[in-house]
Symmetry: C2
């Protein structure tokens, strides 16, 4: 877990990495009422970015991303999914990179490999919010949680990457996976609804949501616990065993 | 549509392209009873591969893929979806590339850019089988349809790319899109079932399939045409207007 990645910005020719290829990760965690993602703040710049990195010449792409995520979060065995590769020409903006490097005391030559065009392979990860121990990278002075509905301005096309990650989450065919990775093993209907509302970015009608979720067959309801209080505790649910899909 | 792409194999340093980045496309068409994909056969090698290419330094990734697809098929406005980027180290096999280049009269130096490591961004496309006018690329002597359940051995990890494309098709949340792009506007229940069977790679029970499809609300049934024959023609269906999803 404490494997140290060298600072790629200090290597002018980037010969230890695959040129033109970066990765970015959208790391989701559920704080109990809000869906949040991890952002890095670059030292002395006020610039925010998704945690990301580069692919070592002898490293599998997935392994590079996983190593980066593990380093940022202190977790291993993270659930992650690659969801899109961003390859437009106009996502390049050498001035942003120069600013970040300069703020870190690195004067980049014009032909520094990081100033060239990059495509970015993007992943989303679903992690246990409470288990994380955050760690900034070589160029950042913070790595912290931000609610998806109130993000600061992000560099380059990172805002677009977050949008697409949310879309990928919405399209994930297995609601169980999303729920299981973001919620505790047992959860209330309210918590489940909040996860959905955060992912969808809209309010859902409570009774309707509850009826549909129960009809879906996704959930197992557990016996209500006797609390001795006037208002009984809400039912707890967990995800049922996977059933086969229609087709 | 007849835009000519230079032969990237003849450019030893690959300076007009982004190093390390290739794309591959899995082009699906429905012949009436079989789901098929396009494969290139490289001249004098017996090697089969997915149609693919490289990304010009000043070209958006999506545009490069679209241009390649248009050149191979003679079609414009093709429906395509990026589905995965393959980035393992072991997908590199310089000997295969050397063989293909040699068979085309190109003696590649050891540091030829095409012999270096590549990641491949993979797309699937759904096209109108009958409208296509196939065109091999600079290194191939044929570009032709092959049924997905009887493909020849493919180079590198292209077999794995096809598998993942089929999985992406199965996971596509909008059955309407798949059906609309692969079937004529009006189709029989049998044709629809055959598309599904080919995508899923398994036989479906007729009555059960029909019942589920009708219950799904995806389809509009059209009035049966009077044919004057003893056996009446099968009902024709089309895809209904999009309804909103559960959430």
């Amino acid at each position: 877990m404490s494997r140290k990645i060298a600072n790629p910005a200090k290597q002018a020719d980037g010969k230890d990495y695959l040129a033109h290829i970066a990765y970015d990760s959208v790391v989701f965690g559920f704080s109990g009422d809000k869906l949040k993602i991890l952002l890095m703040e670059y030292r002395n710049t006020g610039l925010f970015a998704l945690p990301g990195g580069f692919v070592g010449r002898k490293m599998n792409l997935d392994d590079a991303v996983r190593a980066g995520l593990e380093e940022r979060t202190g977790l291993s065995g993270i659930y992650m999914e690659q969801f899109h590769t961003f390859g437009d020409c106009n996502r390049q903006d050498a001035s942003v990179l120069k600013k970040i490097m300069k703020a870190n005391g690195i004067e980049a030559e014009k032909d520094h490999w990081l100033l060239d065009r990059f495509i970015s392979v993007a992943y989303y990860a679903l992690i246990n919010y409470k288990a994380v121990k955050l760690q900034p990278d070589a160029l950042s002075d913070s790595c912290d949680w931000y609610p998806v509905d109130a993000l600061p301005q992000l560099i380059l096309d990172h805002g677009k990457i977050v949008e697409k990650a949310l879309q990928a989450l919405r399209w994930n065919t297995d609601d169980r996976i999303i729920g299981m990775k973001l919620l505790p093993e047992k959860f209330t209907m309210k918590e489940l609804q909040q996860v959905y509302e955060n992912i969808l970015g809209e309010q859902l009608e409570r009774a309707n949501f509850q009826r549909k979720m129960i009809a879906s067959g996704l959930l197992t309801r557990h016996a209500a616990q006797f609390t001795g209080k006037a208002h009984k505790a809400p039912y707890l649910y967990s995800f049922a065993e996977k059933k086969t899909s229609v087709f």
